[in-house]
């Protein structure tokens, strides 16, 4: 999952970037509204965490501009103001959730995960397709109740596919969503990840959960996706 952090305070931004990275997110960050808006519009971002009190265009203006151009990117606002008038203003502008500063990173992470699931149409933090159960909170995967050990990138690939269950995901898209923008991309590496992932979640090769569509990308087997 690729997350965008727009925060002008360098220390907070750096802290957020490293914390999100440590939790398996690909992270883009911006120190002001203009850069934030550019990244949100031009890059394949899955979720944005936006500070309201930004220099230049404010966080609210950024969200308003996104929504004006019909961009439904899920946004969590960080705000120092937490009167209901401010919350209502932020949420009615188009933010999907808010966090009052100072915040606990765990809570922000939980809300980000919840928002991502909500966007994908899942209600619970446990995403279950076929006999594979993905826990977005614990970032763990079980098959028929038994834990499967995945590397961080294997998990990211599976999570992205689970959160876009009815979509054909191209290799480029998958790469963009799991790597930072300056990462040296190599689609062969991705094929290796997917190959290993298939073996781990489907050692008997009878499930065929992840399908390859030649020239288009990957998708979850429609038989399991209701």
């Amino acid at each position: 999952m690729k997350i965008l952090i727009v925060e002008d305070e360098e220390l907070i931004r750096n802290n957020l970037v490293s914390s999100f990275k440590a939790n398996g997110f690909a992270v883009e960050s911006a120190a002001n509204g203009e850069d934030g808006l550019f990244l949100a519009e031009e890059y394949p971002i899955d979720l944005a965490v936006v500070d309201i009190g930004l220099p230049g265009i404010s966080g609210l203006e950024l969200i308003a501009k996104l929504r004006e151009s019909d961009n439904q990117l899920p946004v969590i606002i960080l705000t120092a103001r937490d009167t209901w008038q401010d919350k209502v203003e932020g949420l009615s502008t188009g933010a999907d959730d808010y966090m009052a500063k100072p915040f606990q990173f765990e809570e922000l992470l939980a809300r980000c995960n919840a928002l991502l699931r909500r966007t994908a149409g899942f209600a619970s933090p446990l995403l279950k397709i076929a006999d594979i159960e993905l826990d977005t909170m614990a970032q763990s995967v079980r098959k028929s109740g038994l834990q499967i050990e995945l590397t961080a990138y294997e998990y990211k690939v599976l999570e992205y596919l689970f959160l876009n269950p009815k979509k054909v995901v191209s290799k480029t898209e998958l790469t963009e969503h799991i790597y930072e923008q300056d990462f040296d991309r190599d689609s062969n590496v991705l094929e290796v990840f997917v190959g290993r992932l298939r073996k781990k979640i489907d050692p008997e090769q009878d499930l065929k959960l992840i399908q390859t569509l030649r020239g288009q990308g990957y998708r979850l087997n429609p038989d399991y996706v209701s």
């Binding site: 220390l11 802290n15 120092a80 009167t83 008038q85 209502v88 915040f103």
Partner: protein, 447 residues
Amino acid sequence: MPMKNWSLKQRLTTVSSIILLVAFSIIFFATKSAYLLASKSRLQESMTAQIYALIAVANDDQGTLFIPDILRNERLENLSSGLVAYVLQSDGALVWQSPSSELFQTLPDIQQNFTMEKLFGSEFEGRKMFWIGMPLTWEHEGSLEKTYYFIVGEKQSILTSAVDKFKNEVFAWLSISGLLLLVVFSYALNFSLRPLKTAQNQIELVRLGEEKNVQGDFPEELIPLTSSINQLLDSENRQKSRYRDTLGNLAHSLKTPLAIMKGEIENRKISDEKNVLTTQIERINDIVRYQLNRSVISSGQTLVRSCSVEPEVSKIVAALNKVHQEKGLKIECRVEPNTIFPGDAGDLLELVGNLADNACKWTQSKVVISAKAKDGSFCLYLDDDGPGIEKQNREAILNRGKRLDQKTEGHGLGLSIVMDIIKNYRGDISIEESALGGALFRVTIPL
């Protein structure tokens, strides 16, 4: 009602009625006395004519005066006519009297100094009479000169009945014109006061929060008033938003360092030190949050005193639906149409937001926010189907809401802010058992 509370319309109606009454009374008495004067002089003229007629027919008859039976006014013959005539000698003895005067037993007293210049009014044997008279020196044959008094009397009622008739006529006409004037006046009053009424309605709309400022064209006398109200509203709004901005900036500049500290501490390994620092940062944050949120609450009377409840509650419901979507809650808004909150919309948002947010935290599946006006109060109810609050704990929760340092989990800062708002608006809050099974928070604020 004391006079200084009278409405302009009452004052104008009273003053104009008094003016009308005084003016018409003066007109009435002036015309009456003018008419009386004119009638009197006409009466005097006709009585003078009687005297001259008598003098004209008087004859010398062997040293005394003789009035023949010619040229007689018929009324002098008639016993009940009221017109009487006498000719008396200088010693008061009777020379001649008209047949009509036989009504009286006595003769008029010549000591009364009757003149021709003025009607002399007197009561004569129980009848009110006017008199005129003149002494006349008659030269009889043989240079005998004698003075005679010619006196004519007329009953006063001949005058008063005419005056009464005139009085009635004048009174009738004055009454009719008075009534007409009142009708015209009340129309004129309404016409003149209409701009005031419009201004009053406009200000009422502003007070109810329906309009942002006083709108419409007003006569020049009212323009200073309406434009100052608009200026006041404008500056109040600007002040309010500047205040909010300042507080927002303050919040931002206080909380950013707190957020940095918190982030840094979170990255440390678990230790006693970390726990102490985390607790203290929480404490600072709570105080900052509480004091900042509290200072946004309007402290008392502002010009705009009301806002419509339904739109504000809808905003809260929309916000809560987003924030608590995870929980799959059903948040219902049951605000009776046209319910008015007697204060700033920001305060209402804070009140409903905090209570509803608490309800959402505790509830199982459903939260109902209802509001209505009842018995001169604005009533707000928050029902949930959560575990509810034990009777013995209810008072304690509300009391703790009054004191920041003893806040409870889930009923924390929000409830403190709610208690502050309720205190500022002289309202009341109680916790009861909801029909849904959970807690019911009931807030009443006098309108």
